[in-house]
């Protein structure tokens, strides 16, 4: 009876969070659509070419639905988006979804690997800094955090390239090898970009980990755990880190926005043919449908990731399940 009730309550919580996400996604869609709506230039004139007559342009315009009202066009576009149609690239005429799909692998690889690097650096650093606040380790960790906020990702990237690819040629300067060509070449090309992006992203996560841990380490049950003679690592990880998890996963979700911006820049520096590179090329070519599609994709990914993180709170804190 009680179990059934709590499952229902959990279900209600999940549903409520999902429903709360819908207006945000709708707003993102409206903003992203308005961007294209406001964009200068007439796509019909571009598609028609230089020699087109005024009637021809008008015909293309009405066939594209460009002569309709904002609301009509938004509904049409939104309907397309829901069916997985993001329109066509002005530059190549190919569907935006297939352009993005082609470029997805390197971007996902870079995002996942940098997040991995960030967590591997940030969590131990934050935990140890909070364990001995004021120590040289703590000062070093927090100095690193301020530095991490201040160094743009391309700056660290170029320093790493200079060090590990030019002066000491152990890693490739740039480029990308798909996972299909073997894990070795793939990783060799990914080390520098993932490390550059991961290290900088680690700064924010380390700072939050430390703050959350400091809060938890003050609690009575930590003193009890220490008093009964548990090993330090058991106390720090089993008791403290587990209870500090919610602010940490929250900041990981928030930092995903920084990670996305970082991906766009890092792919440019390392010449990785991912979605970020697609974005930059689209900006240089004023290919608005592609810019719009990419921004929509990244924003929706960001919102959904944060929804998942919201839903994961239940795993860390049973009280939230109710």
């Amino acid at each position: 009876m009680c179990a059934a009730l709590s499952v229902l309550a959990m279900l209600e919580y999940v549903l409520r969070r999902i429903v709360a996400t819908i207006p945000v996604l709708l707003l993102v869609a409206i903003i992203v659509f308005s961007l294209l709506y406001l964009a200068p230039g007439d796509p019909a004139a571009v598609l028609a070419g230089d020699q087109a007559s005024a009637e021809e342009i008008a015909r293309i315009r009405s066939s594209l639905g460009l002569d309709q009202s904002f609301l009509q066009r938004f509904l049409q576009w939104g309907g397309g988006v829901l069916r997985g149609d993001l329109g066509q690239s002005v530059f190549s005429g190919r569907p935006v979804t297939s352009l993005i799909a082609q470029r997805l692998e390197p971007t996902i690889a870079l995002t996942v690997l940098s997040l991995l690097v960030a967590l591997l650096i940030a969590i131990p650093l934050g935990v140890l800094a909070a364990w001995r606040p004021g120590s040289w380790l703590d000062r070093g960790a927090m100095g690193f955090a301020v530095l991490g906020f201040s160094v743009p990702v391309f700056v660290l990237s170029y320093c790493l390239i200079l060090l590990l690819a030019v002066a000491l040629p152990v890693l490739p300067v740039q480029g990308y090898k798909p996972l299909m060509d073997g894990i070795g070449p793939f990783l060799r090309h990914m080390i520098l970009p993932a490390f550059a992006l991961g290290v900088l992203n680690a700064a924010l996560i380390a700072r939050t980990t430390r703050a959350a841990m400091l809060e938890v380490l003050r609690q009575d049950y930590i003193r009890t755990a220490q008093a009964k003679g548990l090993p330090v690592m058991r106390v720090l990880i089993g008791h403290a880190l587990k209870n500090a998890a919610i602010p940490i996963v929250t900041i990981i979700g928030i930092s995903f926005a920084m990670l996305i911006s970082g991906v766009v820049v890092t792919e440019t520096v390392f010449n990785i043919p991912g979605v970020g590179r697609l974005t930059v090329d689209a900006i240089l070519r004023r290919d608005y449908p592609v810019i719009q599609g990419v921004i929509l994709l990244f924003s929706v990914a960001y919102v959904l990731l944060n929804l998942l993180i919201d839903l994961s709170y239940g795993l860390f804190d049973p009280r939230i399940r109710l």
């Binding site: 207006p23 945000v24 996604l25 707003l27 993102v28 409206i30 903003i31 992203v32 961007l35 406001l38 964009a39 200068p40 606040p133 927090m142 301020v146 530095l147 906020f149 201040s150 160094v151 743009p152 391309f154 700056v155 170029y158 320093c159 390239i161 200079l162 030019v166 300067v173 703050a211 400091l214 926005a257 920084m258 996305i260 911006s261 766009v264 820049v265 440019t268 520096v269 974005t279 930059v280 900006i283 240089l284 004023r286 608005y288 810019i291 719009q292 990419v294 921004i295 990244f298 924003s299 960001y302 919102v303």
Partner: protein, 278 residues
């Protein structure tokens, strides 16, 4: 207020160092024509890709322009973008946040729009806005401001709602004080400290975003030297002449770092809870 800031500086040496570095860079930006030894646009084809030496302190780029002079002039763009964005974003955020905090129906609509804007990663939002309005310093400033306003608005709104629940505001309301007077005399003065801290973070974010936008080619047009576009132009010859990328990068990092330390120092000084925690 000013005495408070001065006192804070004395207690937080990091913040003082940050402020000093920032002031030095601001001076350099203002006095750029006096400091830069060579015209930043002067092309010297025979001195292409020179390493740093006594004449060209930061070396030259691929068409022989002096990287040091270009970097000094680049400080103007960064300083200008940082200051203008910080001022406009804080001011707009203050107005919007006050409206949201005091008028319920405005709150509902405004905060949903802010939620939508915040769901779009700020660099992407800025990229999109610059893509629409064309690359120029003006459109960069507007784009970064729009991307930064939601955070300020949310901060102000939160503070206003917290302040409204306080006894002294309630007392003023009961005594018949009008809303504008309460705002001017009681709410805004209490917002100054958090807004000053926020302004420094907005400044840092704006300088960083401008550099990133110019780096990926959606920023300051190439005629005007900015740190981002100097680095972007140096990108293609990075292996031959890394100095073109490295010097502006270093200066850019130092500027953002100074502003961040200054902001952290101000935050610690204004909020006793943080003191000694860093």
């Amino acid at each position: 207020m000013n005495a408070g800031v001065a006192q804070a500086m004395r207690r937080h040496r990091g913040a003082a160092v940050g402020a000093a570095l920032l002031a030095a860079m601001a001076l350099a930006a203002i006095a750029a024509p006096l400091i830069a030894p060579i015209d930043p646009q002067l092309i010297a084809p025979f001195d292409r890709l020179q390493d740093p030496d006594a004449r060209y302190w930061f070396g030259t780029d691929q068409i022989g322009r002096d990287v040091f002079s270009r970097t000094v002039y680049g400080a103007r763009v960064s300083m200008m973008v940082g200051c203008v964005v910080a001022l406009t974003a804080i001011f707009s955020g203050l107005v919007l946040g006050l409206l949201a905090g005091f008028i319920r129906w405005v709150d509902g609509i405004l905060m949903r729009v802010m939620d939508g804007l915040m769901a779009i990663p700020s660099i992407l939002l800025a990229i999109a806005l610059v893509a629409i309005s064309g690359p120029s310093i003006r459109s960069i400033v507007i784009a970064i401001t729009i991307a930064e306003v939601p955070r300020v608005t949310r901060l102000v709104r939160g503070q206003v709602i917290a302040l409204r629940g306080q006894l002294f505001i309630e007392a003023a309301t009961t005594a018949g004080t009008s809303v504008p007077v309460i705002l001017y005399r009681h709410i805004v003065p209490n917002l100054l400290a958090p807004l000053l801290v926020q302004a420094s973070y907005v400044f840092a974010a704006a300088v960083m975003t401008e550099a990133v936008l110019s780096f990926i080619g959606a920023g300051v047009p190439p005629e005007t030297p900015s740190w981002g576009n100097i680095i972007s132009e140096g990108r293609t010859v990075f292996q031959l002449a890394p100095h073109i990328v490295l010097f502006p990068s270093l200066v850019l990092s130092v500027m953002v770092l100074s502003v961040n330390i200054l902001g952290d120092g101000l935050r610690d000084a204004f909020d006793p809870r943080f003191t000694g925690q860093r």
